[in-house]
Symmetry: C2
Subunit: 157 residues, 2 copies
């Protein structure tokens, strides 16, 4: 599976060896009932997710903070290769309708590695400023925590 | 074939009944040897085009003015439905690598209509300002002229 060559000035990358097969990790990303279990870093929650899993299909994941205030994340799938790759972005909101602001596109790859999964998330931004803002928002800590939560769900499948 | 519901504030639309079947119009958009015959409004020319026709594939079309000065247009395909629909954008430059500036995404549909083609090009911008700038750059005249040139090529196939 093709992992993007990172652009150091605009990409943020998380990679992790997950103790579950690619099929399980992929299910955690693509089945709403599984995704809501791990997507937000606790104690935040994910009240619901709507996933139209096809290129051009909308994906909206709603997170909530400890007070129950909701934060919708509208986006769209760009490329879907079952069990191997998912590409999505907040630059479109479904059927190629541009969003209010293109912030990033995310390339996820799920590579088999001795029965486990080499999981790589590449967050690609349009500007260096947005990459830096994403980093300051806590990309590495947040995605790291969520990946640990994801692994727990995937191991139970 | 699903034609996008236009967003009046950010989309520009050209629609035309072309006197050739959808298969011919689609070939004009997807075969470099045909595309270079009509893509630039004359007397501009299209010295070359490189088209990796798949979602995530780069498409670069180079136009030239009357002095031979070249203007490359790097972009990428988003969705490809043979003979019916093409979606591409300048927001990515291939393999989902963000471009310098997302300006627009274009949805082209080719619908059969009594042996001819209902051809619709919807240019979708991220901002109202970019839509207005595109309009001032001569979207309607330019795309209109090129569509006439395209029809000439398609009729000869």
């Amino acid at each position: 599976m093709h992992v993007p060559e990172p652009d150091a000035s605009r990409d943020l990358v998380l990679t992790r060896l997950i103790n579950a097969p690619p099929e399980a990790v992929y299910r955690c990303w693509t089945e709403p009932a599984l995704l809501v279990q791990w997507f937000a870093p606790k104690p935040w929650t994910t009240p619901r997710a709507s996933l139209d899993l096809r290129p051009g299909g909308a994906c909206t994941v709603v997170m909530a903070d400890e007070n129950g205030t909701e934060y919708p994340n509208p986006g769209q799938y760009l490329d879907v290769i079952p069990n191997r790759k998912l590409v999505f972005t907040d630059a479109f909101v479904g059927d190629w309708k541009p969003s209010e602001k293109p912030f990033f596109a995310c390339v996820l790859t799920f590579e088999p590695e001795n029965g486990r999964t080499r999981y790589t998330a590449t967050a690609r931004h349009w500007t260096r400023e947005d990459k830096e803002a994403h980093e300051k928002m806590g990309f590495h800590e947040g995605w790291g925590l969520c990946t640990t939560q994801l692994e727990e769900v995937a191991k139970g499948l």
